[in-house]
Symmetry: D2
Subunit: 405 residues, 4 copies
């Protein structure tokens, strides 16, 4: 028996007893996730938030195992092959994340979403493993005839979210975000192939959605977290710009150099996909440390912000700042820093963020009542979560270099 | 009022309300600790163990604040200046740690211990801040006339250990290592200037020492953790060797290049100390990723082990392996890998590790009895911790490349 | 120094260092709270829910200490006398609870609310302690000129609620009810003498209200918890009825006997107040054990339900059951048990329960914005908690003897 | 499917899915354990320690379920019937505990140990349930041919201890006593029918034994906990003495009256066993409340101590107090209280307590090494737990009425 038990501060012990799953976990494409932080630069604000995507993937896998057990106890038919495939799919659901994940998605790889890359990598692995990942891919892409298996890994109430919300709460220390995932798992059920929640789970679902809302505004969209993320994007954009302008900007690794030069084509070239799998947070951060000393005031300022935690000033606004306001602010910054237009745009910028408490348009949370009827949570009498909560809350941010005065 | 509250999953909230302490925390020498993992490559075994030295320093600072409060409540005189200095000293006690800390200490910087570097950095900061760190330095070097302040930051029962044992337990998920530091803090007292523990704290101290023992054998000296650490050392040694042999080995950063060339002299040259403060785990790991593709079989093998988690085989032995055994093993590895002697020494090696449950020779744990007498914990009747436990337990390890057969 | 440290699994350590507060805690009127369960018979459903009112009172005291510290750090003037009084008031706020608290309030003592009895006891103690509780009484009755002190012990966001929600979550094991009281405390502030919450605390408040909502429907108003509580009330009503009818019903204690006979007048007679303070859960439950053997089918059935956990059948309904339905049900029960009308009313009954997520009519939760404006949480843009949530949710329950068929 | 899920703050969720086990749990003999506190009067010192024997029994049952699962995963054959029997045996292992358990064992029932009563009750239930408990009884009495099943419920490392140590730590708030039972369970194995621990579990076992040692000295044998327990014994002894002297001492219930009169014979009379099963903490404490007002100075003093928390003064001594010392102390107390010899012996008494860290004479903890050898933990090289730790530590206590001066 090859049983591997991994200590996880969040879930206690994670047990893996399927040799093929262990083999996939051991593959370098999966191991790469060790070097990608789950929460990018949020650790500048929450010093504990240094956990990795690999850790999250293992945690989500653990929840998937538990969910499958619970459903089987309720008589839902899930055979061994389906169970293995669902577990593989959740393990690999994030395998396409690039360095610093969401933040840099659009800078390093243009026009290819990380889910698409995950799929490309899964297909590549499927070749390596002679088709043994086919069912996992079918579930991942929702082409399998039991939609609840897909919903367990991608819906408003999936193992992915349950793990990352709990894990991010745990590592940030924002204990209010912790959700009772074990109770939610016990209340999952399946009807007509669809994943649903038993009636008595309504309050737990409400709590789940409110915890998520809290995590968004308190952590993911925390103004300083946002500021660090935007500065990271600006840094890479500037570096790319300089490279495009012909600067001999030193980067820590040839791989990052290649992607900065913008010549890659992940979808079309297998070697580019493989190159992408060599990229991680370390290429980026090490390069930023080097750029700190490169003779470009804009790049230096941004890199200093990220490396030495000299973050820009940031505030939320009810409305987008006016063109006039921005103009005055930028002029002031130009006069202090000597960085003139249009480069000053890197040092002062605004944008909007939004979050929806419950998105009734996407995958819904369906409640199965004792009498057999099914309702969307937003349609349940007396529920806290109403239709109107599907309107996103929008905020504007303004982020700029701190003038010393 | 400038009060900064930091979320810490271990201690809840860490409050910093002294502007000067905030200034020191903001300094880039301190911020660098964000990029040094507390537990090096232990995350290959315990995926949660990715916390940083900065986080530990903040945690130890928090415990120091609590300890000072408790002692003051017991009537021990500690003035504001002393309190600030003790807090600064604990914050900076680890500031001299290099990348991957203990493991690489002797490879990157020869002959200078990290505590010595911490002192050098504190002296440099003391200049920057016009002497405001002098008292902290005096406490750190135990030249201040209240020895208990030094003992709070460096003794068998200091805030440093209390934090790292609890923090490492927490992040590894080895919950048995968690200690009741809050109870221990409440039982600290001072007599004749020396830090001691009240009589009723004996069982908590026993528990503390046993937890530490457990953390050593289960985590810090876990055979696979040890293996990863030794492989890291070997990797850097190999890289250094190649550089010394004239190879044009690419490294991710010029700073690491400089240190690998062995020309630095931290003690004597201020610019070398500053260069050292630019080095962190990112320079190392990013270079290892590059070396994975460098045309040296030894280096490739080691780097592949660390990056793709293809760790060597490792076991503990009661006695050191015989010369013969080693010879045979190496020959076998040579025939598989094509790496001949003496290079094969990088791929098969042994060594010893030891740990002492309670070291009665170093700073002792003194118990203050109700009748005013003072005894070393190892001399207390019926205590679990006896003199004999100060004999170190020694184990031998054998670590080598896995033959596929 | 007399400092007492009490271990509390919920808050860690509770420290009491005021000799007068220790004296009040030592008084038998306070110690009586050890023998009153915080959650009555909820332990029939949640076996861990056996914690006492004394434990809750100490926990609320602890939060009050923390709240006062936080407010003082923000510059809110609270002198030593006021702090002591607020702490005493929170310690004693529940001292008037009778056995099994809310459930039996109206059966044992007619027409006197437990808060009124708390006040009577505080006044009695005030005499005993020569007026040293006067300021505490003024705060308790909201006659003191700093209303925030009263609000700390009685408002929608008081230390009472924060403790009992957290404590009840903890002991029931319904971990989703746990609230981040420490964060909420850090966000309290005072403006114009009124307690408010800083703007950035909005999401924590939402989480607090949703957790409370969850605790209500999942625990306090859990149908079986409710059933046990209603059976307890019915039991005492039946016993009282039998006593009034002249039965020589044995009770465990003369004190309970006296109250069952309905001759007491707590408001008017000091000795009756003192007698009340001899009553606790033990008088009741021990009597129920005796009544189990008394020759009255109704009483036996009810007592058996509570002692041997043979609870009635209970369900929630959208509408109150019709007169007809009730009639049929009772006839069926009569034919099974031989208990005829009107006594059968003890074995089948219905009623309604309701709960409001946020009651905007009572003490409100006021948010203080950075720009100095103050808004009720229900009036904040984008807040989850809306005006409409102040409409109570109402459910009907039907509770009856289980027919064996 | 009848699956019952019980919330347990210690273990999360306890699942019971065997209808027969549910039936046994529902029996009034088992339900009685709800009214027996696990830790008697320890709540006077640790206010959270109000958990019940029923809760502990459910927790131990849960650990038994997990242990059986783990062993089965390791290929140890345990059939369904054996599994059910082991679960029933652990559920009922404490069912014979009388009110306030250990303390009163010898006062209320002379010469019958609680384990013997547990067996009598199990045999009675076995009749009720037509022999379905026979295998459970065989395992309980260690007559079954797979000794490890008995060892899982009664050995130095059984589910009973693992649950009560963790549970008592949890409810007292003495978090240092918490043990990593989940890790220990994962390291259990069976060889030659005997329960053992895998080699790598050594440090966890050490930690377990040290935690137990800590719980003994810090909680179970805490001097004030001990004092309360001894006062309880003295109280019942005094009451019994008065009854024997012909006093018409009122007791709360006829059942307790019967046992105080000393006429019961549990072993011989079935109705006495049933009467015993009507006794619980409520009979005792309610009677103590009544005795507080009975005209006997000794009884009043003792009852006041327990009810109003006016505990005697207590201290630990290295040696038993001398006859002279005791004589002087008693004379002083006589002069203050008017209670003369020999009654004053109730108000001043001494005794001894002892505890053994590891008792090598009783059931041993066997370690199974990788090479197949088996050693007692006390014989393992370098283990903390040595032979000498099986010598009990002995302390003397002196407990007496507090003179007001």
């Amino acid at each position: 028996m090859t049983r591997k038990i991994i200590n996880d501060p969040v879930h206690g012990f994670i047990t893996i007893d399927d040799p093929f799953i262990l083999e996939v976990i051991g593959h370098r494409y999966f191991q790469r996730l060790r070097r990608i932080h789950q929460m990018a630069f949020a650790q500048l604000i929450y010093p504990g938030a240094v956990h990795t995507r690999l850790h999250h993937a293992l945690g989500a896998y653990h929840l998937m195992c538990n969910a499958i057990n619970e459903l089987r106890l309720k008589g839902i038919a899930i055979n061994e092959e389906e169970a293995q495939a669902a577990k593989l799919a959740i393990l690999l659901h994030d395998v396409g994340h690039g360095p610093y994940s969401h933040a840099l998605e659009k800078v390093i790889i243009k026009d290819v979403h990380h889910e698409k890359i995950s799929l490309l990598i899964m297909e590549s692995l499927n070749k390596t493993f002679q088709g043994r990942l086919q069912l996992a891919i079918d579930i991942f892409t929702n082409r399998y005839h039991k939609p609840f298996l897909h919903q367990l890994l991608s819906s408003q109430l999936d193992c992915d979210r349950m793990d990352y919300l709990t894990r991010d709460s745990f590592f940030t220390g924002v204990s209010e975000g912790v959700i009772g995932y074990d109770r939610i798992l016990k209340m999952l059920t399946v009807k007509d192939g669809q994943l649903m929640v038993e009636e008595k789970g309504i309050y737990s679902i409400e709590k789940f959605l409110v915890s998520r809302r809290l995590m968004y505004w308190q952590v993911y969209l925390h103004k300083t977290v946002l500021c660090a993320e935007r500065m990271l994007v600006r840094t890479l954009q500037r570096a790319k710009h300089l490279v495009e302008q012909g600067h001999l900007l030193p980067t820590a690794t040839p791989t990052l150099q290649y992607f900065l030069e913008g010549k890659s084509n992940i979808g079309a070239k297998a070697e580019d996909l493989d190159a992408f799998c060599n990229l991680d947070d370390f290429d980026i951060l090490t390069s930023i440390k080097m750029w700190l000393h490169y003779d470009d005031k804009v790049l230096q300022t941004l890199c200093d912000g990220l490396i030495n935690r000299n973050l820009f000033k940031v505030k939320f606004l009810q409305e987008a700042p006016s063109a006039d306001e921005m103009k005055q602010l930028k002029e002031k910054i130009s006069s202090t820093t000597g960085v003139s237009s249009p480069d000053v745009d890197y040092l002062a910028f605004s944008g909007e963020v939004k979050n929806t408490t419950y998105n009734a348009d996407e995958e819904r949370i369906q409640i199965l009542f004792k009498d057999g009827t099914v309702k969307d949570i937003a349609a349940v009498d007396n529920a806290l979560i109403r239709q109107e909560l599907s309107t996103p809350v929008k905020k504007y941010y303004l982020c700029h270099y701190k003038n010393s005065n």
